[in-house]
Symmetry: C2
Subunit: 310 residues, 2 copies
């Protein structure tokens, strides 16, 4: 028996982490999307500041995929409350899709596995990027640092990290319509062999560093010569900001997703006040307004009122 | 004051581990090269079955680089005893260079860091591959699983792994002169973007799996679509052997270095007897003679008669 009303919440996330293009993402507690499912006569999508055509809405697309696949009636209202700012590289569409699937799972008592939830939620990503990319949705559903591999089938694994990191996210007011799609088109179509092996070493270094708490390995591992430079026009202040952050002992810095937000990883050695001030100064220099948010790593999507596991 | 005579020993190694092209290698205790430095009037290189022109010998090249850089007299004899079979993907040239540098360090009492030793030893690799590749020499010097990154400068890090793995190495009698150089020329010059992100995920998976003891992550992580297929003519039996090993619950399998040897990672779930038998059967089917060696992960190069640290 469906419950009358279920609300799920899913955190934002930051994908790529420098070298880990399309394969790594981390859930952050900076912002959450909430999705409420309730009884309704027919299918209805509600919310403010979002497209209400289900085919153009990540939560709607994910929900329809799930309902149709499982043969469930579309007699529900899906109410979306956007907490994650859109188009800024914080996995906004993934968070909506994750919250929708998590809420539907609870509403219908489906008992879906995390892999199944990711499968439905990533279909929602088609609405924003034109293709189903699982990194942000995986982080929003599972929480923590998530590794996505694409072998025989998609697999998303949470990677346990050592160390207690704080994150500063520099968020400029630079909304671009259809940014994710445009950012995909900026990518190189092929990667020279030397850059390839260099990138493999960095991704290995990032994982080894995060798992062992070695900040030097993390710093090297979050560098990238392939994806970030190809999109630099979306975040021209990036290298200035990264240089400033590292000079103030940030562990590492990278573009968050396809930008324009920048993620800075900090630990007890980092001078976070100076980094905050530096971000503001750099935004000013580039004639951009923006803000800085401090975040921690977040657990995954959860149903409100239920016990939460991290 | 130089000592009269110093012998150092360095283990063989297996580079790449599937997805970790030019960035990962593991030292194995299957074979060792020994290098003895002793007083001599002038520079002399001795040994059996190896080129004695120092410019064509990895140990000789590494030694000359070290002596010249540090302004040391070339009044030594370098005696090389090859234990690592040559040209079979087991880091033979790297082991010789590693043993030579380790022995020279002790002979002259230089107190070189591991990074410095790797720097000299990799110059020796020019003799075999035409360019200085640090993966095998790093494993032979440091021992264990080694990650090499190429950022501002070369950095080699030992990665601590969880789990007690045994390795089966299938070694065919397929010596090819100048194989390393030829194998480099077979590589693709560029990598499609999709394959790139897939490979990043695999390398991340391999590191996460080895550090956490998760055999599924290791198995996915040791797959490769880029480098191994491009060189398949050097080891046509590879995919048959890999399929057989995985069917017998090997954790994973990959080409060792540029081949033709194949590395199989085994744990307590693996049916090693069946894998051994399967290797022999596959060699026969391909009309190849060969052998199977069982190995453990090895510590790094050491001076004989000195306390050894793992």
């Amino acid at each position: 028996m469906p419950q009358v009303k279920v609300t799920a919440s899913a955190p934002c996330s930051s994908a790529n982490l420098g070298s880990g293009f399309d394969t790594l993402a981390i859930a952050l507690d900076a912002f959450h999307d909430r999705v409420t499912i309730s009884d309704h006569d027919g299918f209805k999508l509600t919310g403010e500041g979002i497209p209400l055509d289900p085919e153009r809405n990540t939560a709607g697309l994910a929900a329809i995929a799930l309902l149709d696949e499982l043969g469930l009636e579309r007699d529900i209202e899906i109410r979306i409350e956007k907490g994650v700012p859109k188009g800024l590289g914080l996995g906004s569409s993934g968070a909506s899709a994750a919250a929708a699937v998590k809420a539907l799972d609870a509403y219908f008592g489906l008992g879906l596995t995390q892999e199944e939830m990711i499968g439905y939620a990533m279909i929602g990503e088609i609405a924003s990027s034109g293709s189903p990319h699982p990194d942000n949705v995986s982080a929003s559903i599972i929480g923590g640092l998530v590794l996505v591999t694409h072998d025989d089938d998609l697999r998303a694994s949470r990677i346990n990290i050592s160390g207690d990191y704080r994150f500063l996210v520099a968020i400029p007011d630079l909304f671009t319509e259809n940014k994710t799609r445009a950012a995909r088109q900026m990518l190189p179509r092929s990667i020279p062999l030397d850059s390839y092996s260099k990138a493999l070493g960095r991704t290995a270094s990032l994982i080894a560093g995060l798992m062992s708490g070695n900040r030097n390995l993390i710093r090297v591992g979050m560098n990238d010569d392939i994806v970030e430079p190809s999109r630099i026009s979306l975040f021209p202040y990036y290298y200035d900001m990264k240089r400033m952050a590292l000079a103030n002992e940030a562990v590492a810095a990278a573009v968050s997703g396809a930008g324009p937000s920048i993620l800075m990883v900090c630990d007890e050695m980092s001078d976070m006040d100076s980094i905050r001030a530096g971000i503001s100064e750099i935004f000013s220099r580039y004639n951009i307004t923006g803000r800085v948010i401090e975040a921690r790593m977040s657990g995954g999507a959860f149903v409100e009122g239920s016990p939460v596991s991290d």
